[in-house]
């Protein structure tokens, strides 16, 4: 592969960097707008102010919506981890046509458009009295998050030898003990990765939320959505800036952790 990079390749690379600029530059505009001294959406002209960040602290509705989002995302992630891990474990161990079919059915919420299941949730939640309640939104988001846990736990288990379970049983463990002490620990990295997906999905979910909640449960995406619909005020830019920074930090931390883990894995045989 020691050919000098060809002209078309250099052109492709140039195009790729342009595309990255297109992907990232729109986010960059959010930061200056968040420190504008004006009441309306604008770039700061020479002066800047932290008033819009102050708004986030002073106006309790922002804090409350963040709290609601944390409650819903946390709750739905727990349910999704439980359901997704159960499915992935069973499919890994049973591994028959039936279990494969069950796994594909469990993935349905990932493919069905939000607007379609939003209508269904609304209908059934209305009958069950779950509209505009925490359990209602948590369950709906959990259904949407479960497929991601199924996928990541399945991926983690793909490299686990089935005989591991047998070995534990032969050494005297019951089926449940083997599950808890041997198999679930191997599934843990997948559970962690899946829970990140499930949490992020719920944290950012809007369409189902719009249909099945109103005033009682009021999440951050809903607050931002209403803010954009009414009159766009720069407080949204302040929230957006904070969320972008948090996302970047989370990604960098994840990369550093992965590197450290790779180094530790190398350590016994490394130089």
């Amino acid at each position: 592969m020691e050919l000098a990079p060809s002209k078309p390749f250099r052109l492709t690379v140039f195009g790729a960097w342009l595309a990255i600029l297109f992907l990232t530059l729109p986010f960059a505009v959010v930061f200056p707008v968040s420190v504008t001294p004006h009441r309306y959406l604008s770039l700061p002209d020479g002066q800047w102010s932290s008033r819009h960040y102050q708004t986030l602290v002073d106006d309790p509705s922002w804090i409350l919506s963040i709290r609601d989002s944390l409650v819903v995302a946390g709750g739905s992630t727990l349910v999704a981890i439980l359901l997704g891990t159960m499915t992935a474990l069973a499919c890994w161990r049973i591994s028959s046509r039936t279990s494969e079919a069950v796994r594909m059915v469990m993935l349905a919420p990932m493919i069905v458009p939000s607007i379609v299941h939003a209508l269904g949730f609304y209908q059934v939640w209305a009958q069950l009295g779950l509209l505009d309640s925490y359990p209602g939104l948590i369950l709906a988001h959990a259904m949407k998050g479960t497929p991601y846990v199924v996928i990541s736990v399945s991926a983690a288990l793909a490299n686990v030898d089935l005989r591991l379970e047998q070995a534990a049983r032969n050494l005297g463990a019951t089926a449940t003990q083997a599950l808890w002490k041997v198999i679930i620990p191997s599934a843990r990295p997948g559970m962690l990765a899946g829970s990140v997906f499930a949490f992020a999905l719920s944290w950012d979910e809007l369409v189902v939320t719009l249909f099945i909640t109103s005033r009682n449960v009021y999440t951050l995406p809903r607050k931002i959505w209403d803010g954009i619909q009414d009159n766009i005020n720069p407080a949204i830019a302040a929230v957006a800036s904070i969320l972008i920074v948090l996302t970047v930090i989370a990604m960098v931390v994840r990369i550093l952790l992965a590197r450290r883990q790779a180094r530790l894995a190398m350590a016994p045989t490394g130089p």
Binding site: T24, T87, S114, V116, H117, T146, S154, I224, A237
Partner: protein, 282 residues
Amino acid sequence: MTADMDAGTRRVYLVLLLAPLVLLAGLYLFPLSRVLWLSVTVPTPGFGNFERLLTSSAIHNVIWTTVRICVLTTTLALLIGYAIAYAALHLRGWRGELLLFFVLLSFWLSVLIRAFAWLTLLQSRGVINTWLMGAGIIDAPLPLIRNEFGVVLGMVHYMIPYAALPLYANMKGIDPRLVPAARGLGAGPVQAFLKVYLPMSLPGLISAGILTFIFSLGFYVTPALLGGGKTIMIAEYIAAQINDTLNWGLGSMLATALLLVIFALLAVMSLFVDLRKVFGVK
């Protein structure tokens, strides 16, 4: 594989398999079936709602707008995603990793924040129009949102990671010695790419394309915000049927039709690739 299990083990794993399925059936598949049911029972039993698919010009408009935007979005996202994936895989060292980092960053960032950023840039008193007018290049603000341009821009921006990441995974499976071999045999770089690399990456391209198209079809947030009620795609139209006119029959019919189209597309996709692999369960 179940033969090697004793009764106790089998019971444990059957519970693990069936308990989530029962919950999904009650809390997800049942609500979904309600939508299908409503589409043929409200306001009157029969296929009256589905006849509207053929007769209503308003619905034809929405469908046509949706298909046009989704085809354009998918094409652009694939093209750009392909370039990014190819460059990320073939650049040596940190550059490729940095490309991938930005794609992942954009993948994880909130859909609402993206739409908000585009609104800030594109609206009539937004950053771009203010700057262009300040520089004296234009006299009146350009109409950059509340039209198909804005919707496609926002959607391509959202879909690029969804195209680039599966393409990258697919390209990783292509033997990196093939293109140099073709070059060694006298092919030019473009010829080697077109005759060797592109055909090898075609299954990945098709499956990434269909996935991007499926996600675009049902997209609600970005089209609603950047279309501003002027450019209306099917998801927003369905929501309007329910919220504004309480027309559950029409809304659920369109939702059902959307669902059927998506399953048909998945069936087509399964001819080219193993769906279980696409969804990462194999």
